[in-house]
Amino acid sequence: MIAEAPTPRRSRIRRVYVGPFGQQVLAYLLAGLWLLNVADLLLTEYALWLGFATESNDVMRYFLHVGTLTAAVFKIGIVTVGALVLWRLRRYRAALFAAVVLAGIFAAVVAYQVFWLTSL
């Protein structure tokens, strides 16, 4: 009796990989995410300086309380590290998905802040 060979489950595994096109999309998204993060920091600082806003994120509130430079180093640093991790995992579709979600959220937050500040 000949044992039936196990069927490789390659088709499911292949679906998590991202090709060159997707990796380039990921690169642009991570660059955009980094820039939006800097914009978010600057707009938040401006809104706090105006006196119309309070930082609702407890972690960032702590760092902003310590100092602007500390908050900037933390915020930019953590997003830079996160972006590098996602780029390291660029062949996985999950990395691209995470970048899409994060960049979309940051774009929404920055757009909201711009509209809000111009309405003051």
Binding site: F21, G22, F106, A107, A111
Partner: protein, 397 residues
């Protein structure tokens, strides 16, 4: 390309399928495909693809659109924003949601008021309103102060503490909570960049009568100056140019005005009608060296006076039942008085001439009348079923 490499035919197969009798194919490793090194791979992976940039930008645009949508949704549901309509004589500004205006001030193009917990300023030139502050407790009915450069207002902070003074600078849109203003007991007054307020710094909140200090602060350069202090010193405080006024309780009660530049101090007796009867001080205003105040007796009879501080003369401006307002700018005094078919917004130039009607309010109750330059504004409180808001009109030259 890693993905295509992983899906390629494996050794020992033909056409991708296992040959009969052949050993079972070995599955490729489950880890991610490796990027082959070499110039060819780099060229394939790093070649500029406009489509990738378009997709990334589309993602960012969708996110930005979501943010704009959230902002629009939030703005549509705000309760503070008034409905301003330009009319032939000026503006008709309606406060939504039955909010009633507690107090208002005008200076130049800026009209500020408190409605409910909201402190709002309106630009009479652009027709644009902006929210300055939201009090945690809407118990303070103090009118905000406004000058050409700043607005200032009180915000109840909640708890047993005294309200805080906040300022807003029009040129920079910067809003600040002023430090070191303990025991504020009256709404502040503004002139240019100078703020003045009445406070009892040592007030523990236990009701102990303490000395009240009238203090000025330069909002642009900083620096406090106590102008007057004492147990009989009280509010309301006024400021115009470099002249500051405050109430002094006693028999008779009077109002002191000090010129910070020249050092002169004027005292004006208040609280007595022309008939000699005692009355309550309902409103007071200062412009240059002219003090205008409104008294009201227990029977509702009111009188408006104007005192020339330098000349030392006092003249009656208006009298009768149901007066409201009593504001001055330059030589123009405005007020409201009942008339046939409603309420008349009245004006009189102290330099000469008879009083004349600026506008007639058919329904409702006019609670205050303000003037700045050639703009007259009045608060119309018609109740839940009618108009609640402010109307403005231009005075004829």
């Amino acid at each position: 390309m890693p993905a295509s490499t992983a899906s390629g035919p494996t050794p020992g197969t033909l056409g991708g399928g296992p040959a009969p009798g052949a050993p079972a194919p070995v599955a490729p490793p489950l880890g991610p495909p490796r990027e082959p090194a070499g110039a060819g791979a780099a060229a394939g992976g790093r070649r500029f693809r406009p489509g990738a940039l378009v997709v990334a930008l589309a993602v960012l645009l969708v996110g930005a659109a979501a943010g704009a949508g959230m902002f629009a949704l939030e703005q549509a549901s705000v309760t503070w924003r008034p409905h301003a309509t330009r009319i032939a004589t000026g503006w008709r500004i309606a406060c939504p949601h039955g909010l009633v205006i507690h107090g208002a001030s005008i200076s130049g193009d800026h009209l500020a008021w408190v409605s409910g917990p909201y402190t709002v300023v309106f630009d009479l030139t652009r027709g644009r309103s902006r929210l300055l502050g939201i009090a945690r407790e809407s118990t303070a009915a103090a009118a905000p102060a406004v000058s050409e450069q700043y607005a200032a207002w009180l915000e109840e902070t909640g708890g047993a503490g005294s309200p805080s003074i906040w300022s807003y600078r029009f040129s920079t849109s910067a809003r600040r909570r002023l430090a070191s203003t303990p025991g504020v007991v009256w709404a502040p007054a503004l002139s240019g960049a100078t703020l003045v307020w009445a406070g009892r710094p040592g007030d523990s909140g236990a009701g102990t009568p303490l000395s009240t200090a009238i203090t000025t602060r330069d909002l642009s350069r900083g620096g406090d100056r106590v102008v007057a202090q004492g147990p009989s010193v009280d509010g309301p405080v006024l400021m115009d140019g470099m002249r500051i006024g405050w109430f002094v309780s006693g028999r008779p009660p009077h109002y002191d005005v000090r010129d910070l530049a020249g050092g002169q101090l004027w005292s004006v007796d208040l609280a007595m009608l022309a008939s000699g009867a005692w009355a309550d001080l309902m409103g007071i205003d200062l412009s240059g060296t002219t003090l205008v105040w409104r008294l009201q007796a227990a029977d509702g009879t009111g009188e408006i006076f104007a005192a020339d501080l330098i000349g030392g003369t006092t003249q009656p401006v208006a009298s009768g039942p149901g007066l409201s307002g009593g504001s001055i700018d330059g030589d123009v005094v405005v007020w409201a008085q009942p008339a046939v078919g409603g309420t008349s917004i009245m004006c009189r130039r102290l330099s000469g001439g008879s009083p004349f009607v600026v506008a007639t309010v058919a329904t409702g109750r006019v609670t205050d009348v303000l003037v700045s330059g050639d703009t007259v504004a009045w608060i119309d409180e018609s109740g839940p079923s009618g108009f609640n808001g402010i109307e403005t009109a231009r005075l004829a030259q």
